[in-house]
């Protein structure tokens, strides 16, 4: 299996590259393009990214595995990203985690049917902690009851 950027994507990348001083800065935008299209970043795509950013596959691998929003395997239909950082922790993210464990049988880094749970670092919304991001949408000021309702609405 090989990976190639489509013609439209390459045009967009060309446009993006004007914004940055070095091609290395294109790393995250490129990974976003792949993640959005395929719902994961296949290892075959590393070379395409490394070629454009003038880095190596090992470096791309490092970036992909560093950020929780990039995944090496396709994500489930609903990717639940639960914040584990301080503010959310103090405001009750542990209770949300317990709910996911007991009620939906979801453990961190595991898939269960349409759901997948990942514990992530700060989502940048400490004022409305605890927060959960499901796919691209942020759910704020959550309580276990609210989260349960949201997930039950999905299924």
């Amino acid at each position: 299996m090989s990976f190639e950027f489509t013609k439209e994507e390459l045009e967009y990348i060309e446009e993006l590259s004007q914004r940055y001083p070095s091609p290395k800065a294109l790393m995250l935008p490129l990974l976003w393009i792949i993640q959005n299209r395929l719902k994961h970043i296949p290892t075959e795509a590393f070379k395409a990214v490394a070629d454009i950013t003038k880095t190596s596959e090992a470096q791309v691998y490092g970036v992909v595995t560093f950020y929780t929003m990039f995944t090496l395997k396709p994500t489930a239909k609903y990717h639940i990203q639960l914040c584990k950082t301080l503010s959310c922790n103090l405001c009750g993210s542990k209770e949300l985690l317990n709910l996911l464990k007991e009620r939906f049988n979801l453990l961190p880094n595991q898939q269960n049917g349409d759901f997948q749970l990942t514990l992530v670092e700060c989502l940048g919304s400490c004022g409305t902690a605890p927060v959960v991001q499901i796919n691209n949408r942020l759910y704020e000021n959550l309580t276990p009851a609210k989260l349960q309702k949201i997930l039950e609405d999905f299924s």
């Binding site: 290892t43 590393f46 560093f66």
Partner: protein, 463 residues
């Protein structure tokens, strides 16, 4: 770094140094024992290990020495109670997930982490009794490099070696926080011809050479400086060998030795593994037509052969030292013999690159040229006597009348005399840049084995 000398103090002692010089480099070069992992002379500072903390007057907190430049009036303290406590705490953090498997680790005895624990750690048991994060062991990186994720302290020296020195970027840090490890790209192995240098660079037991792994504990090894004989570059190496009682000395590995003028800090993998040649296929006995004869008989046979032949060709190996070549020149003049040292057969175009590997795969070719020895191929007729001093070409020459002084056995029906290998003798070499270097004698064979000069003296030539 400017050329201005400035005065500064270390532990109350006034010192002089160039302004702008890296403080850690200065301290290490001048015999101060500053613990450090990520800093290496060839790679520079990275500042990720935080081990080289020193106190600087006027600064609120302790500073890392590798990121401090020397300037006028700098007051440095390297041994205050705060610094000692700090080092102990950093060690605790590094040992938090370290398996502490020193008894089975090949690096034990030359491990920075182990040494620093003995110097600054030694805290009470039970400080790291918590569950450790388990990771993979024995990961094959390729090119004889084996990686142990648990032992790694993530100083990134290996990553920086491929980023800054070879510029191939073959390694990267993957995952995050406590789960971080070093890795190649998925399904890929190391390709670099210099990959095994990262084993030398690794301060702990994370990167090991599969060639040396489990072969010998390092405290049984003795080290001797020497020169690699792989090509005309003459890289400086350290030979690690063991000399156990009642056993023949055995070389276990070569390591790169720092010499800014020749090879910098590194050597190529092929040179590093060339130690195996010393042990394989060595000639140890005097033989004549496949039967063993004694020393006196051999000397008289040489005398007769030299006496009855008018036309004598001497082949001298370009691996021999300058002084040895000089004595062969003298002897050849005395015998009225033709002396050759052909270089063509040592050429290997595929081996050469534009860094440390050179085309002529023989150590003293430039010494041969400096001594103006004929480097063309000799013509040998049926009644020419061939005296061969370990030259590679001799195994392809088919002649009945021959005397072979050789280190490694070849297919010959004539008189075979064992010769000391370059490791067993000492003298000078000239490399491709014209630098003359001294290679000391490292190994002494259990049975005495003669060098070129000793043989010529025994036969009765002048040396």
């Amino acid at each position: 770094m400017s050329s201005k000398m400035v005065e500064f103090t270390v532990n109350g002692k006034k010192l002089l140094a160039f302004e702008g010089l890296n403080l850690l480099k200065y301290l290490l070069d001048n015999g101060y024992n500053i613990p450090h992992y990520c800093y290496h002379d060839s790679l520079g500072a990275d500042g990720n290990c935080r081990m080289c903390m020193v106190e600087i007057k006027g600064k609120k907190r302790p500073q890392i020495a590798c990121d401090t430049l020397i300037k006028e009036g700098l007051e440095v303290n390297t041994n205050t109670p705060t610094i000692k406590r700090l080092r102990e705490e950093i060690l605790q953090m590094q040992l938090r997930n370290h398996p502490v498997d020193c008894p089975v680790c090949d690096k034990a005895g030359e491990c920075y982490l182990q040494n620093y624990y003995m110097d600054y750690g030694l805290y009470k048991e039970g400080k790291h009794k918590k569950q450790k994060i388990k990771k993979s062991k024995n990961i094959e990186f390729g090119r004889n490099v084996v990686y142990d994720e648990e032992r790694c302290i993530l100083c990134k020296r290996c990553v920086r070696f491929f980023a800054n020195i070879t510029k191939t970027n073959e390694l990267g840090v993957i995952k995050r926080a406590n789960h971080s490890t070093i890795s190649t790209a998925p399904n890929q192995k190391l390709q670099s011809q210099y990959a095994m240098n990262i084993v030398d660079l690794c301060p702990v037991g994370a990167l090991l050479s599969s060639d040396f792994k489990f072969k010998q504990r390092v405290w049984f090894l003795q080290s001797s400086p020497s020169i690699c004989h792989g090509c005309t570059k003459n890289c400086n190496i350290t030979i690690d060998y063991s000399s156990t009682k009642f056993q023949a000395e055995r070389i276990y590995r070569y390591k790169a030795r720092r010499n800014e003028d020749v090879n910098g800090y590194f050597i190529c993998d092929e040179g590093r593994l060339s130690y195996k040649e010393y042990h394989t296929n060595r000639v140890t006995q005097i033989e004549y037509k496949n039967s063993i004869i004694d020393f006196k008989e051999a000397i008289s046979k040489i005398g007769i052969e030299i006496f009855i032949h008018k036309d004598i060709v001497i082949l001298a190996s370009p691996n021999l030292y300058i002084e040895e070549l000089e004595s062969i020149i003298k002897w050849s003049k005395k015998l009225n013999a033709r002396l050759y040292s052909p270089l063509e057969c040592y050429k290997d175009k595929e081996f050469a690159d534009n860094w440390l590997k050179e085309e002529l795969r023989v150590a003293n070719a430039y010494g041969v040229m400096a001594l103006e020895i004929d480097t063309s191929t000799p013509d040998i007729s049926s009644d020419t006597l061939l005296i061969n001093f370990d030259h590679k070409l001799a195994q392809d020459i088919n002649t009945l009348h021959r005397i072979d002084f050789i280190t490694h056995s070849i297919n010959s029906q004539g008189l075979i005399l064992p010769l000391a290998s370059w490791v067993q003798s000492s003298r000078h070499l000239i490399n491709s840049s014209g630098i003359k270097q001294y290679a000391p004698k490292t190994l002494v064979a259990n049975k005495p084995i003669l060098t070129v000069t000793e043989w010529i003296e025994a036969i009765g030539g002048d040396i």
